[in-house]
Amino acid sequence: MDFWQIMEWAAWIISAVLFGWMFIDFLKVGREYSEAMLLSSREGIDELELFGEGKKKGH
């Protein structure tokens, strides 16, 4: 097995690990948090304004 074959295998393995990490995290988040909370984002809500940070920074 030469260097480039090892690189090919390494690329597949790293890809699988990263996808696996994201997938496990996705499942964990689904278990640990309620759907209502995960879906609570609202368009047009400006958190910086909401908590006064925007004013402090002069926005």
Partner: protein, 465 residues
């Protein structure tokens, strides 16, 4: 990343995190586009000759300047993820918004697939030049997964990385230009020998407009960051317009260098890799050869990174409004990203990257982009009529209205004709796809949409309503 992790949810509501500044907006816009200078634009030379490609660069540059100005005004006011989708919802209505959302998702997902495919093929070519045979597939998938992971973990780091690699790729174009000694005409670059007239006349020039889009395709993607920038009124116009200036410089340098190094007959049908890289290769300089290989690779990675970001935001916004299943509208409680949308679009991009020919993928992306640009002038007219100047606070007011909108519409019509000349069947097939999707939305999906929730901006009632 520390800043991202610190962004813990406040109470029971979690929104996307507002952490971006003008440099991130620049990195998003230029990052998506810059790959078009390294490859793709050169097919305009095949249609209209070297001068035809230059005329396309100017005319399409004008089209995108109008896009950037219109986008800067509306997005700095409708500061919501989804960009033009959210704008369409406010100015025209649900069916238009659904279509615009689809244009965005398809344009960015297809471009992302093309980018990661190119990144994998570049590794294959690089290894080939060192005398080794490798498959491109593992590197294509690796590129996709690393970028998806970065996007999943947070927008701040994603676009900071994009800033670094985009700036490095832009720098390689400047290095190539300087390395070819433009102050010594005809020493390395041979413009007087290589430049010819218009080989296919003015019809060829119009046909070149289709590929002239490559010089700038995706700059409108800056709008997708609207909900995550700290100061939309300042950052979005600043990032978008400086991005457009950067691209105009890069496009000019790219054309000048490429047509001075390669004959137009080769440049127009350069199927092997990319004209800037080839220009560096024929220069005989090992340094330029390596620098442009790295620049081309970085540009493809930066583009894919920005596309993952934008496609996921558009998909997320449509989910949040129930245009698609609400499930997609979830925000990660720790990283504050649209994590389900990011994850869902990964396999789709992977299948397109590995199974569909690059030219088809890219044509689909260009056509979806063009449909989006056609929507923009209509959007602008409606926006100014419904909320005239002075009725709401705008982050930016673009000058000379309605001329940019009229010009943009006219240029879009000419570009449709150009696309029809080369890709008539694909254009018609895609129109049929959007008609079928619209029927599905109208007769089935719209019943799930909460009509009262559509209008989210704290503005006065529009004029005439």
């Amino acid at each position: 990343m520390a800043e991202q992790a610190a962004g813990q949810p406040q109470g029971q509501q979690i929104n996307l995190l507002k952490v971006l500044g003008p440099t991130h907006v620049w990195a998003l816009g230029v990052g998506i586009v810059l790959v078009g200078e390294f490859m793709g634009w050169n097919y305009a030379v095949g249609k209209g000759g070297a001068y035809g490609a230059l005329i396309a660069c100017w005319v399409i540059g004008l089209l995108y300047t109008c896009v950037a100005m219109i986008d800067s005004e509306i997005t700095s006011t409708v500061a919501a993820a989804g960009g033009q989708y959210a704008q369409a919802k406010h100015t025209i209505g649900p069916l238009m918004a659904f279509n615009v959302g689809l244009y965005l998702v398809l344009a960015y997902t297809m471009l992302e697939a093309g980018d990661v495919l190119v990144a994998g093929q570049l590794v294959q070519i690089g290894a080939g030049e060192l005398g080794h045979n490798v498959a491109f597939e593992p590197f294509t998938i690796l590129c996709l997964m690393v970028l998806a992971w970065l996007n999943y973990r947070g927008v701040f780091m994603t676009l900071t990385v994009n800033f670094v690699i985009t700036a490095a790729a832009f720098l390689t174009i400047i290095i190539l230009f300087i390395g070819l000694e433009p102050w010594h005409p005809e020493a390395i670059m041979k413009h007087s020998e290589l430049l010819t007239g218009l080989p296919y006349g003015w019809l060829g020039v119009i046909a070149a407009f289709h590929f002239g889009i490559w010089y700038y395709l995706g700059i409108e993607g800056t709008c997708q960051a609207a909900e995550e920038v700290r100061s939309p009124g300042r950052s979005l116009p600043l990032g978008t317009i400086t991005g457009m200036i950067t691209l105009a410089i890069a496009a000019g340098l790219t054309w000048y260098v490429s047509v001075g190094m390669l004959p137009w007959e080769y440049l127009g049908w350069d199927l092997t890799l990319a004209p800037l890289y080839d220009a560096a290769r024929v220069s005989g300089s090992n340094f330029l050869h390596v620098a442009l290989f790295v620049g081309t690779l970085f540009s493809a990675i930066a583009s894919a990174n920005g596309c993952i970001n934008d496609a996921a935001r558009a998909w997320f916004s449509m989910g949040r409004d129930r245009y698609l299943p609400l499930w997609f509208g979830a925000v990660h409680p720790r990283y504050r990203t649209p994590f389900r949308s990011i994850l869902f679009l990964i396999p789709i991009a992977a299948v397109f990257a590995l199974k569909v020919p690059l030219a088809q993928v890219i044509t689909f992306s260009i056509l979806s982009g063009l449909l989006n640009y056609t929507f923009m002038p209509i959007n602008m007219f409606k926006f100014r009529r419904m909320w005239p100047l002075g009725s709401i606070r705008r982050g930016f007011q673009h000058p000379f209205h309605p001329f940019p909108a009229i010009l943009l519409m006219s240029l879009c019509i000419i570009t449709y004709f150009a696309v029809y000349l080369g890709y008539g069947r694909q254009l018609l097939a895609m129109m049929a796809f959007y008609i079928v999707a619209s029927l599905w939305f109208h007769f089935y999906r719209y019943r799930f949409v909460r009509r009262g929730d559509q209008f989210t901006m704290a503005w006065p009632r529009p004029q005439g309503y």
